[in-house]
């Protein structure tokens, strides 16, 4: 809110874009921020990446609403729901809201319906089975990157070979980074109190 306020105060055309999940939309600070941004007409696009889980708890168990976007009306601001797995749709919808905010028309909420393949913590969390493999596989069928690649190849914006090169180079970079991390020495216990302060 502060960044948005400063932008308006200084006559700049920046727009603040905070990202949060379905779980975080229950936090008090979200509600205060949404109301504040709305009533002060701040250039803020609240983006909710709704992946259906608040940490390990499914959405139906942490709120009654199906759409986080419904919360925007409670603060008098507009909202949009978009397929979070469609990169182009997200871009187009977000652009519309950003331009509106830039034009001084105020805050809005964008809810992107999406999914999380791995766990809130780590790849497999604590291995407690809180969701089905079928569900994960169904969402993987609609993967955002795969869909975008297919779309780009079909529209002749990129060749499959080019895209494969990106995958290969990125994978190599990650493997190199993991190797570097594993071969690096452990931190020195003498550093334990560096940058640690008490009040």
């Amino acid at each position: 809110m502060g960044a948005a306020f400063a932008a308006v105060y200084k006559g700049q055309d920046s727009v603040a874009v905070p990202f949060f999940g379905d779980g975080a939309s229950n936090i008090g600070a979200f509600h205060e921020s949404a109301n504040l941004a709305a009533v002060m007409h701040l250039p803020v696009i609240f983006v909710c990446e709704n992946n259906g889980y608040a940490e390990f708890t499914p959405q139906a168990k942490h709120m009654l609403l199906e759409d986080v976007a419904d919360r925007a009306a409670a603060y008098g601001m507009p909202s949009e729901i978009v397929d979070g797995m469609d990169v182009v749709a997200v871009y187009q919808t977000a652009s519309k809201l950003v331009e509106r905010a830039r034009a001084g028309e105020g805050a809005a909420l964008l809810e992107a319906k999406t999914y999380r393949y791995y766990d809130h913590q780590g790849v497999k969390g604590l291995r407690t089975p809180y969701r089905s493999q079928e569900e994960i596989d169904a969402w993987k069928e609609r993967d955002a990157i795969t869909a975008l690649e297919q779309r780009m190849v079909a529209a002749q914006l990129a060749a499959e070979a080019e895209l494969q090169k990106v995958w290969d180079e990125t994978r190599a970079e990650i493997v190199e980074a993991i190797k570097f991390a594993e071969e690096s020495p452990d931190p020195d216990p003498a550093d334990l109190l560096d940058n640690v302060y008490t009040v």
Binding site: M1, G2, A3, A4, F5, A6, A7, Y9, K10, G28, A29, E32, S33, N35, L36, V39, M40
Partner: protein, 79 residues
């Protein structure tokens, strides 16, 4: 040395700060139009208007965060 109440000293300091630095604003509950529930912001709204003396909803967590963010925005803008 003058003897004035803490509240009056507070108000005077804000008046001086706001005069010296265009980036100083006041954001809070009933600080603008009402002049503060203990009159601590008396006269600021008349002098500087609603652009710099801003009345908020009852949302302390919200506008405290706004203050931190705005302060940081000024620092990163090199101001």
């Amino acid at each position: 040395m003058r003897e004035i109440t803490y509240v009056k000293a507070f108000t005077e300091s804000l008046m001086q700060l706001m005069a010296e630095d265009e980036d100083v604003v006041v954001i809070g509950e009933d600080v603008g139009f009402y002049g503060g529930v203990f009159k601590a912001f008396d006269g600021l709204f008349k002098a500087y208007g609603e652009r710099r003396v801003i009345d908020t909803p009852i949302s302390e967590m919200g506008f405290l965060g706004m203050g931190v963010g705005a302060g940081r925005a000024r620092v990163t803008a090199g101001g």
